[in-house]
């Protein structure tokens, strides 16, 4: 599979070496639009990773998959362009920053012969294991989910290329709620198979002050948010997202989940299991068994998507899932702006009734447990 990095602004510096390590995948280059505000970043990524810097049209003509890694507010435009060129598309997270854009993506995917998916953590071993536990019936019906996603620092260039890419709403679509809310929203959907009906959120966005000493306040966006969800069938969930000065675990991003069922519960911690090493000098480090969950999740995402294309399967995360996750983040932003007023996430509103019917019957984040 020939993969084009369609704009190399966010995460591409991590994705390119990972993609290159996978058999059967070739990274053919990085491309960006002529009017991209980050065209220099894309060129720099190409130079740093030793891949050609291409014209977007030229790159799309010669790839199988476009991996969209622009600033988030340009994800939808680039993904739609690639889908309209008949390419398969993986969009970096969050795949869109508004449900209007998510809907455009969905409609473009419906029209395209290319498959669409987005970067997610559902292949993370602990999340996949929790899903298997739910599917086994061991905990009965899942009734409540408690999810936490915390990033430790990283705005110094360590994990985020430029602070404004997660802090400037014109580039990011919001603060950490938009940046990270995507992951737990997808995970909760994956584990429960239910639509979110109501969102309540408190955040540190203006008029409140940020919780920590980062650049979020200068842009009026949140560095932390606490969210309550009501899903179908009376199921509930909470989401806690933040960028904190220090993390919970050894990874730059730590996430954990707890699922309460009618007959039991299951816990998931992406930092576990790990082996701890302590040296005579007093240093200690934790090594996750089978490597960092984030890397495992990405590796499986890329390889599984290639198989989805090759064997005509439905990707684990579809346009419907993308829309649903974006709708939760958007509703949470809206609720937090209104002091926590309950907000119903947007649903697809186009007059395309065929597509609407498809959405209602579409599997929710891997509806089949056979994967």
């Amino acid at each position: 599979m020939r993969i084009l990095i369609a704009s190399g602004v966010r995460h591409a510096r991590d994705y390119v070496p990972l993609l290159r390590s996978l058999p059967g995948i070739e990274v053919i280059g990085c491309a960006d639009t002529a009017d991209s505000p980050f065209r220099d970043d894309s060129a720099a990524l190409a130079a740093a990773t030793g891949i050609p810097f291409l014209d977007l049209e030229q790159g799309l003509a010669s790839c199988d998959i476009a991996l969209v890694c622009s600033e988030p507010t340009r994800h939808a435009d680039l993904a739609v362009t690639a889908l309209e060129a008949g390419r398969h598309v993986i969009v970096d997270k969050p795949a869109a920053t508004t449900t209007r854009d998510a809907q455009r993506l969905w409609e473009a995917a419906d029209r395209s012969r290319g498959l669409l998916t987005a970067v997610h953590r559902l292949h993370s071993p602990q999340i996949a294991r929790a899903r298997r536990t739910v599917d086994s019936g061991a905990i009965g019906l899942p009734l409540a989910v408690d999810a936490e996603w915390l990033a430790a620092g990283g705005l110094d260039g360590a994990t985020v290329e430029r602070p404004e890419l997660v802090c400037d709403p014109a580039l990011s679509g919001g603060g950490e709620l938009m940046n990270f809310g995507w992951y737990p929203a997808l995970a909760i959907r994956y584990l429960t198979g239910l639509e979110v009906e109501e969102v309540v959120a408190f955040s540190s966005a203006a008029p409140h002050a940020p919780l920590f000493d980062g650049p979020h306040g200068a842009y009026g966006v949140e560095d932390a948010a606490v969210i309550s969800l009501r899903l179908g069938n009376g199921v509930v969930a909470t989401v806690t997202v933040a960028r904190t000065p220090a993390g919970v675990g050894p990874a730059p991003v730590s996430s954990s989940l707890r699922v309460l069922g009618s007959h039991g519960h299951v816990l998931a911690d992406e930092d576990a299991p790990a082996v701890t090493v302590r040296t005579a000098g007093g240093d200690s480090s934790a090594h996750q068994v089978a490597g960092p969950a984030a890397t495992t999740a990405l590796r499986l995402l890329f390889t599984e998507f290639c198989d989805d294309i090759r064997y005509g399967r439905t990707p684990l995360v579809t346009a419907a899932d993308i829309h649903a996750a974006v709708a939760v983040a958007e509703a949470a932003l809206s609720s937090s702006r209104e002091g926590g007023a309950p907000v119903a996430p947007a649903v697809r509103t186009a007059g395309d009734s065929g597509a609407l019917r498809r959405r209602r019957s579409a599997p929710v984040c891997g509806g089949s447990s056979s994967r």
């Binding site: 309540v200 408190f202 606490v226 969210i227 309550s228 000065p245 007023a341």
Partner: protein
């Protein structure tokens, strides 16, 4: 005739009682009163002197656990001259009146949580304590769990700077004794589950974050016992006066009684604290022994009560914290009942 001494047996048992022991009267003879009596027996310097319950047989049975303890069905005997401290262990709807009466009679008071079922009643209790000049300790026992004392020490030492974000998850396999008779199932007596059990978590965070909740949103959830007239589980979002945020997830839904999942993440301006009961060695099945991180809180609280009575410690539950936590819990109950976020001042 004395029995024939058995080798190794004590012939003259020292009950440990001293003339200057603080004499405790317990009002209420239910499960929590029994826990207090057990803890009192383990703390030198305190002595169960008297038990009051409206059911004579329950009062007598509890008093029988302590040598020399008397019992009565008359609440006023719990703040008589023969008593130094009154432990109010009745169901919540009677806390305010009993607590105020004991304080006005000049007794120190250990008051089970929730302190009251309204903020004005809480204010009445706090005012009575202030006027009487007598100690008031509200039994927010979660503060005395070893892990929370350790976290409090870490926060006080500046280990994480100023706490700004908390995520507290407590799951417990719990079945209320008494079946359908339990006062916990009657919101008019308990204040509602969000109020009477949510106050544990809200008090803990009020204390650890040294701040007061100003806005809450609570969402109830029915899990293992959907037929109960009160949700067995609930979540609370909290905004504090200085902007800090918290997610609280409380569940009494674990299938096996006696099992626990306890987790607290506290992120501060310079660091993050984290504890999970999953990290500590313990039995994997239902156990009569609580995790080490939580075990012994009642005894620690009772020892603290003794220190308060000895005049060597101030009650850990400061009046402003008692009021803030209870108000937040009542606001959370209102939020859960009406499915909307509630400003805490709305219930004040």
């Amino acid at each position: 005739m004395n029995p024939v001494p058995v080798p190794g047996a004590q012939q003259a048992r020292d009950t440990g009682q001293r003339a200057d022991d603080h004499r405790v009267a317990v009002i209420g003879a239910g499960a929590i009163a029994r826990d207090h009596v057990t803890a009192i027996a383990g703390v030198p310097g305190l002595r169960l002197a008297h038990v009051v319950d409206r059911h004579p047989e329950r009062a007598a049975a509890l008093a029988a656990l302590a040598e020399g303890a008397t019992w009565s069905t008359d609440p006023a005997t719990a703040w008589s001259d023969a008593v130094d401290v009154t432990a109010v262990c009745t169901s919540p709807e009677s806390h305010a009146d009993l607590g105020v009466a004991a304080l006005r009679a000049g007794r120190a008071v250990l008051l089970e949580k929730p302190a009251a079922l309204s903020v004005p009643d809480t204010d009445r209790i706090l005012a009575a304590a202030k006027t009487a000049g007598r100690p008031l300790l509200v039994a927010q026992t979660a503060r005395f769990q070893p892990v929370h004392l350790e976290i409090a020490r870490s926060v006080a030492s500046g280990a994480i700077g100023t706490p700004r974000l908390a995520h507290l998850t407590w799951y417990t396999g719990h079945v209320w004794p008494g079946g359908w008779r339990g006062w916990q199932l009657d919101a008019s007596r308990s204040g509602g589950h969000v109020a009477h059990n949510g106050v544990h978590a809200l008090d803990l965070l009020t204390w650890l974050m040294d701040d007061e909740p100003v806005r809450v949103f609570a969402r109830p959830c029915r899990t293992w016992a959907p037929g109960m007239p009160t949700p067995d589980s609930f979540q609370i979002l909290v905004r504090f006066s200085r902007g800090a945020l918290a997610t609280i997830e409380l569940c009494y839904a674990l299938v096996e009684r006696g099992t626990f999942v306890r987790r607290l993440m506290l992120a501060g301006t310079t660091g993050t604290l984290h504890h999970s009961s999953e990290d500590e060695p313990r039995t994997r099945s239902a156990s009569p022994v609580a995790p080490a991180s939580t075990e012994g809180a009642m005894t620690a609280q009772t020892r603290h009560l003794r220190d308060v009575l000895d005049g060597v410690a101030a009650p850990l539950t400061a009046p402003r914290q008692v009021r803030a936590a209870l108000a937040a819990a009542l606001a959370a109950q209102l939020s859960a009942d009406e499915s909307r976020p509630v400003d805490v001042k709305e219930v004040c």
